[in-house]
């Protein structure tokens, strides 16, 4: 009997995504994606916007950017800055969790 469960998929790490598809997947406009690249929040391979290809991890960055931009009514520059800080917070949280897991400073 066929199962009615659908499989949750891992990110396709090797997939490369062009600008238009990233805009479509994230809900951003192409101009907003370009602005995020200019402000350093996204780093595509390729020299011109037509040639740009993005990694799969860019989807979650771009989606977070759309959410922040929408929910706080922020301009792309502020969003890019916020993303950099959030990235730093996540990095520090991961380090803290690793230290706590080793039992040095129990949670």
């Amino acid at each position: 009997m066929a199962s009615d469960f659908c499989d949750a998929l891992w990110p396709e790490e090797h997939r490369r995504i062009p600008l238009r598809e990233l805009a479509d997947l994230s809900g951003l406009s192409e101009a907003e994606v370009v602005a995020l690249v200019e402000y350093g929040a996204l780093a595509p391979a390729g020299t011109t916007a037509e040639q740009w290809v993005f990694s799969v991890s860019s989807i979650s960055v771009a989606r977070a950017a759309r959410r922040l931009g929408e929910e706080f009514a922020l301009e792309p520059h502020a969003v890019a800055l916020l993303l950099a800080y959030l990235d730093r917070i996540r990095e520090l949280e991961a380090q803290l969790r690793a230290v706590q897991a080793r039992g040095v400073f129990p949670p």
């Binding site: 009615d4 949750a8 998929l9 891992w10 990110p11 929910e71 706080f72 897991a101 080793r102």
Partner: protein, 313 residues
């Protein structure tokens, strides 16, 4: 349908400029957004202000909202009859909508949003994506699991009329996700419009705290209590792992804090293999000692030349 006073929710006059509305929204978003707010009813208030702003920030939607005129919040009303031709077949279409849907629908019909293919009145648009937080246990992450998710989605009929649809999705989570892992359910999000593809559902995996294990990436850490004599003399002890108990050899002279590694006993990796389980040694004493135990400790104290504080100088 109950009327909502979007201007009052944002605290602006009906003739406020777009800049004033944005400024006021920013202040309220900072105050009530659940990510940054400490207000007790933050999530509810944020939803209200976000709904109001979604309509008033868009000139077309704001003009449509203004057509309704000023009314009392909560007042029963029916949208103008001519709107019904835009939202489906007759007044019945309004009964399935909530207030926000009236204006959300304007974006879909105008060809805004996420296009796929050509723009225009009948432009194909990709369905909405959804993000869902899915808390799972470490056991679930180790073995894989199945979850049921309830989503409330907005769908548009052939004439662009929006309606809320409850949707239950049953998803199979593969083994091996870590905390913060994002998995994707392709095509399980909102329905595509005018032949556009259906949206996806993104699952944000959160690992629930475990009573025994702490997690770092795919490595697990477990406190391993040992009696002083087990640590001093060495012992073979049974250690719980997510795949069942295993025997661990504790070498003689094991100190507190030492980590004994059980390779491949952590969380599995999708590409094969697994993280490690680290048993962190703790040396513990019984809460009360029997007379016999006291005597033996006394004998040991008299016989030993060990000075644990020698480095104090």
């Amino acid at each position: 349908m109950k009327f909502k006073d979007y201007y009052a929710i944002l605290g602006v006059y009906r003739n406020a400029s777009a800049d004033d509305i944005k400024k006021r929204y920013r202040i309220l978003a900072r105050k009530y957004h659940p990510d940054v707010s400490k207000e007790p009813d933050a999530e509810k208030r944020f939803k209200e202000v976000a709904e109001a702003y979604a309509t008033l920030k868009d000139a077309e939607k704001r003009a449509a909202y203004d057509q309704l005129g000023a009314r009392r919040p909560g007042e029963d009303f029916r949208p103008p009859p001519e709107w019904s031709t835009q939202f489906g077949d007759g007044h019945a279409a309004f009964d399935e909508m909530d207030f926000a849907d009236l204006f959300a629908g304007l974006a879909g019909r105008a060809g805004h949003g996420r296009r796929s293919g050509q723009r225009g009145p009948a432009a194909a648009m990709r369905g909405q994506d959804y993000e869902v937080t899915v808390p799972i246990t470490l056991e679930d992450a180790h073995h894989g699991t199945e979850v049921s998710l309830d989503l409330s989605t907005t769908e548009f009929d052939g004439r662009g009329a929006p309606r809320r649809v409850g949707k239950r999705i049953k998803a199979r989570i593969p083994k091996g996700p870590t905390d913060g892992q994002v998995l994707r359910l392709p095509g399980q999000g909102g329905k595509g419009i005018n032949g556009g593809p259906d949206g996806d559902v993104y699952l944000n995996i959160v690992l629930r705290p475990h009573r025994l294990y702490r997690v770092s990436g795919r490595d697990l850490f477990l406190d391993l209590p040992l009696a002083p004599w087990e640590a001093a003399l060495g012992a073979a002890v049974e250690v719980p792992t997510l795949a069942g108990p295993v025997n661990l050899k504790v070498p003689p002279g094991t100190r507190a804090g030492r980590q004994l590694r059980l390779a491949g006993r952590g969380l599995p990796k999708p590409e094969g293999g697994a993280g490690d389980l680290h048993a962190v040694v703790q040396i513990v004493l019984p809460s009360t000692l029997t007379e016999r135990e006291k005597a033996l400790y006394g004998e040991l104290a008299a016989a030993s030349t060990f000075d644990p504080r020698q480095h104090f100088g």
